[in-house]
């Protein structure tokens, strides 16, 4: 009929294999190794390290590459030590929050079986924002209280959504997402109400929090997300195989010996913890949870839930956005949460103009 038809037909004639990569077998174990995924992980790791070095060297006080390691331990020129004292928490916050968001997005897309699924869609970011805005607008609180309130808001919202979607001990991905949308809308209304009716000064600072920022992070704000990421991400890696089976549906998963509901509960718990920690530390960051798993999956061509590429992609995206926005010499304030949105959106649009097949 038209070109689109023939294209679909030709791509359909060459089905790609269901299991990619090769299997290493030992006496008591077997391991599926995907060379392409390993390559992607290696490249992303290198990019992350490179970005971190750029992030540590650039700024008003340029620190030479060789002075970084001594300066971290307090040796070297005093201005270098001071500069790194400010930059280390920022770089660590970007790396860990990015990884946490990437993994959280991958987990939620797997649980909801929907490429649009992300912690934002099920209202988690809105819940964190509710906590933060309440502190800022109603109580005019400091950064640490705001962080704790955001954490509590995010986790509390997720818990409410999970409990509301329980029915006969089962959540079901679809109901979970719908309930999440409902709760998210409710909290969104509450947030808007505070923003519209609150004092202008407080509403302005709440607006800055909502935009998401890495400016002036201190270790007290960064440590929770750092520790949380180190603990929770390995758990999700252990869960990934089972999650891939649960994606095929509860019935098939249980036939294959995976209990769907406990797996889903653990996955949701991990995803929520990661997203809430990241949001509490740096504020809502657009787009990373949604796009990092998708981009990572396209690059590594892996099937099912793959955690490590998503985590590294999230780190690279967030840190990259921060490095870029600091390098642009402008008088305007560029909140990191919005820069990720700009870059991610433009990248996606560019991809669309290039690719014929979507």
């Amino acid at each position: 009929m038209n070109r689109a038809t023939t294209r679909e037909a030709s791509s359909g004639s060459q089905p790609s294999p269901i299991v990619t990569g090769r299997v290493l077998r030992g006496r008591n174990f077997s391991l599926l190794v995907q060379p392409r995924a390993l390559l992607v992980i290696g490249i992303l790791l290198a990019v992350a390290v490179l970005l971190a070095l750029i992030g540590l060297t650039q700024g008003k006080v340029a620190v030479p590459l060789g002075d970084i390691i001594p300066a971290i331990f307090g040796n070297g020129e005093r201005k270098h030590v001071l500069a790194l004292g400010l930059r280390m928490p920022r770089v660590v916050a970007a790396l860990t929050a990015g990884a946490a968001l990437g993994v959280s997005g991958a987990v939620f897309q797997s649980v909801s079986n929907n490429a649009l699924g992300s912690p934002d869609v099920i209202g988690l970011t809105t819940g964190a924002a509710s906590g933060a805005i309440t502190q800022i607008v109603l109580f005019d609180a400091g950064p640490v209280q705001v962080m704790l309130a955001a954490l509590a808001g995010g986790v509390g919202t997720a818990l409410a959504i999970y409990l509301l979607s329980l029915k006969g001990g089962v959540t079901g991905g679809y109901r979970l997402v719908l309930i999440g949308l409902g709760v998210g809308a409710l909290l969104g209304s509450y947030n808007s109400l505070l923003m519209v009716r609150g004092q202008v000064e407080q509403a302005v600072s709440a607006n800055i929090w909502i935009a998401g920022s890495l400016d002036g992070r201190q270790w007290t704000q960064v440590l929770p997300v750092l520790i949380g990421t180190i603990i929770v991400v390995p758990i999700t890696i252990l869960l990934a195989r089972r999650a891939t089976l649960v994606e095929m549906g509860d019935d098939i998963a249980s036939q294959l010996g995976v209990r769907a509901e406990p797996t889903r509960r653990w996955l949701i718990f991990c995803g929520v913890a990661l997203a809430a920690l990241a949001t509490a530390a740096v504020g809502p960051i657009a787009f990373i949870a949604l796009s990092a798993p998708q981009i990572a999956r396209r690059l590594s061509q892996a099937r099912g839930l793959s955690i490590v590429p998503a985590a590294l992609m999230g780190s690279c995206l967030l840190l990259g956005a921060d490095v870029v926005s600091q390098a642009i010499p402008t008088a305007t304030t560029l909140p990191i949460g919005q820069v990720t949105g700009l870059i991610g959106g433009i990248y996606l649009a560019w991809l669309l103009t290039r690719s014929k097949q979507l």
Partner: protein
């Protein structure tokens, strides 16, 4: 059955919306405003210039959001899709933010012009970027819409954060979606756009039933997926753009009203489109009235009230029944 109830509720709410508000109006005054009009009586002016137009606009906007929600969900075959996905909300938001921050307009009608311009331009950009004319599928259209939305909303935030408090103050009241002060000059453009959109919707209903089965099956049923897609995308942009320009971004109705509609009438689009339009109109009008009642001074805008009222109802329905899957 439920539809009859919804229709009765809508008819009952119309007079309530005219009479209720910060300045209460009696039925006699409302009647006189049209049949014994006296330009010196404040209540008469209020009825003719504020209450009646705002009531009609609430119904129009609700119907537009509901119907375009059905279309976008059918088009993308994704129950999480909402009309704003095609970028028109973000376009209007960005244009209004720039209008307030850079051009510093004062009149409400200027805001409408910016809203229409922004949603129109964003819609056109998504249409081109989505490759509708080259025969690309709905996935690319949605991706184009969300890419542009993300870019525009980020740009909006950056504009607002770099402006002074006054700009923020005016922008924050636009961005929650409000019917306050929407006058008669709005009726004609919004009404015509939405009417045209609804007519195209009904014309598309059969093809949408087919396209809900996927491109290949619908083609074998004699539908033209490409044409349906481009017409449906245009209609969503037209209706959602008009609604957003008129009252600001309201997202929850377009997302959830189709779920309620499907629950009541099923998946047949010839029934689903009018049913959802009706339900959405009831929701918007009821939320607007409630927003005028709950606070003693001023009002809470309709976008906020929709969340407060609609969300618990929606959650209750999701919990009580098994929602029809797409």
């Amino acid at each position: 059955m439920w539809l009859v109830v919804a229709a009765v509720v809508l008819v009952a709410l119309l007079p309530v919306s005219v009479l209720v508000g910060e300045v209460p109006i009696t039925a006699q005054q409302a009647w006189d405003a049209y049949f014994h009009f006296d330009p010196l009586v404040t209540e008469h002016l209020l009825v003719r210039n504020v209450r009646v137009p705002r009531t009609i606009i609430a119904v129009i906007v609700g119907a537009a959001l509901g119907a375009s929600g059905v279309i976008i969900q059918a088009l993308t075959r994704n129950p999480l899709a909402e009309p704003g996905l095609l970028g028109v909300n973000a376009g209007a938001t960005f244009a209004v933010a720039c209008g307030i921050a850079i051009f510093q307009y004062q009149a409400l009608t200027a805001g409408l012009v910016f809203g229409f311009l922004g949603s129109g331009l964003a819609g056109a950009a998504v249409y081109l970027l989505g490759g509708v004319r080259q025969g690309a599928g709905p996935v690319r259209l949605v991706l184009a819409g969300s890419a542009l939305s993300v870019v525009l909303l980020a740009a909006t935030r950056i504009v607002i954060i770099n402006s002074d408090e006054q700009v923020f103050n005016r922008f924050r009241s636009w961005t929650v979606g409000s019917l306050e002060g929407r006058g008669p000059d709005l009726l004609l453009p919004t009404g015509l756009a939405v009417l045209a959109g609804l007519l195209i919707c009904f014309a598309l209903a059969n093809s949408l039933d087919a396209s809900a089965l996927g491109a290949d099956l619908s083609r074998s049923l004699g539908a033209h997926p490409g044409r349906v897609l481009s017409a449906a995308a245009l209609v969503v942009m037209l209706m959602c753009g008009a609604a957003t320009a008129a009252v600001g971004p309201i997202s929850f109705v377009g997302l959830t009203a189709p779920h309620l509609g499907r629950q009541i009438v099923g998946l047949n689009h010839r029934k689903l489109i009018p049913a959802t339009a009706l339900l959405a109109a009831v929701i918007v009008l009821a939320a607007d009235i409630a927003g005028r009642l709950v606070v003693s001074s001023g009002e809470i805008s309709v976008g906020i009230m929709i969340g407060f009222i609609g969300a618990p109802v929606f959650i209750g329905i999701v919990r009580r029944r098994k929602l029809a899957q797409l």
